[in-house]
């Protein structure tokens, strides 16, 4: 079978790579290259550096593929590697301390839960708004909102990518939306919350 014709799920393909069929890793690169590049561009402005980082993400994914549990979803696992790469690069680029610990991961939050089907429409509208003003947000708010609205990961998956509590994901997305609303007001736009 030509790997390129594969209709299999990501997890099945990752399983094939784990079993030694390395050529199937190309399918995973193909499926995720654009997504990881888009995700990287939200954090890194240098195009060359972005390309290097994306390449590094896939190298690390291949090197560590045996640590992937095929019973779980592949995309959060890959985004987790990307997240770690971006954090390390931002630390190097900005030559500043990015906190390992945030107070909002300490306390439980009950404010926000993952949205239901009825709110999917809002999700589509939000996606457009996020594209416009996400760069004005702090990294800790920017990342969950990108993963949620642009990359369409669930709260639980975002929690796995960022290694933070699920309730913290909810509260950060809520705060990010509030901040974006403020930004929109300041710039003369309006949107329904």
């Amino acid at each position: 079978m030509d790997p390129k014709d594969s209709q299999q799920e990501d997890e099945q393909i990752a399983g094939l790579v784990q079993s030694g069929k390395s050529e199937f890793f190309g399918i995973l690169i193909n499926r995720y290259q654009d997504k990881i590049t888009r995700y990287a561009r939200k954090f890194l402005s240098d195009a060359d550096q972005t390309k290097d980082i994306v390449q590094e993400v896939f190298i690390k994914a291949y090197v560590n593929i045996q640590s992937f549990d095929t019973k779980r979803k592949f995309s959060p696992w890959l985004y987790r590697i990307a997240h770690n790469e971006f954090v390390n690069t931002l630390r190097k680029n900005q030559n500043r301390f990015l906190p390992i610990f945030n107070l909002d991961t300490f306390f439980p939050h009950y404010a926000s839960k993952d949205i239901g089907i009825s709110e999917q429409l809002e999700r589509k509208e939000m996606k457009e708004l996020v594209e416009v003003c996400v760069n004005k947000l702090e990294v800790k708010y920017k990342e969950p909102i990108i993963l949620y609205y642009i990359e369409e990961l669930s709260y639980k998956e975002i929690a796995d990518v960022m290694a933070i509590p699920v309730s913290t994901v909810g509260i950060r997305i809520k705060r990010a939306k509030d901040m974006m609303q403020e930004i929109f007001k300041q710039e003369g736009f309006q949107y329904g919350k």
Partner: protein
């Protein structure tokens, strides 16, 4: 240009420039991390139970029974170094446990509280065993290598004007006590100031606050306490030697 990434990586994989790590490597790493966390957890329990043991042998455990004056002495004599060390180790445990999804998916406060509750339960369970009393007795007899100094130093730290022990003898001036460190003191107390003196008998555990003058304690306050007798070496020998 972007498809180059796929082509370049597949070529590097085929040529062996990029090699995947084996499953055994990740399993081994996980097992080592698990063993480290379990060992750390057990060590924290050991340390916390030792702290409780140390409070009991020094008599500080019973100070709240003397009201605010007792509480003030307790705060001043508390083994804060051990408590601080336990706290640092609990944070270290939490830091490494954050590797696991079942830990990081919950707020840190929840997992920290869980660890603290588990440590407290574990330390009380260990405290109910004769472990520390045996090690302490061995240390006093200089039969405990490595930990001997630790037990001798922190096992029963003296607290000024606080004495704690088993009544070894009753006499007309009061009674004699034998402390967990095998020291004998005469306690000066009379029926007038301490009407409950008539109820005290040999073998009772007592806590006394008062000034020490030439092996005699002038009791200001004293109380009969319920104490784990295993911390008293003299009790283990089966007699209260004078």
């Amino acid at each position: 240009m972007e498809n180059n990434i796929e082509k370049q990586l597949i070529e590097k994989i085929k040529s062996g420039d990029i090699k995947m790590k084996s499953r055994a490597y990740f399993v081994g790493r996980l097992v080592l991390l698990g063993l480290f966390l379990v060992s750390l957890f057990l060590f924290i329990i050991y340390l916390a139970s030792f702290t409780i043991f140390s409070l009991r042998t020094s008599g500080a455990w019973f100070l709240p029974e003397f009201g605010f004056a007792g509480l003030r002495i307790l705060l001043g004599s508390f083994p804060w170094v051990l408590v601080l060390l336990s706290a640092v180790l609990i944070f270290l445990l939490e830091f490494f446990a954050e590797h696991f999804a079942f830990v990081y998916r919950r707020p840190m406060m929840v997992s920290l509280c869980g660890v603290i509750v588990a440590v407290l339960i574990g330390s009380f369970l260990v405290g109910a065993t004769p472990l520390h009393a045996m090690l302490f007795a061995s240390a006093q007899d200089s039969r405990l290598p490595v930990l001997g100094d630790f037990y001798n130093r922190y096992g029963a730290p003296p607290i000024k004007n606080l004495y704690h022990g088993l009544v070894s003898e009753l006499d007309e001036d009061g009674f004699k006590i034998k402390t967990p460190t095998e020291k004998t003191f005469s306690v000066l107390a009379n029926q007038k100031d301490f009407p409950s003196l008539k109820n005290i008998k040999e073998g009772d555990a007592m806590i006394i606050m008062g000034e020490l003058q030439e092996h005699q304690i002038r009791a200001r306050i004293m109380k009969k306490i319920k104490e784990d007798r295993r911390i008293f070496k003299s009790h283990k020998k089966g007699s209260l030697m004078k």
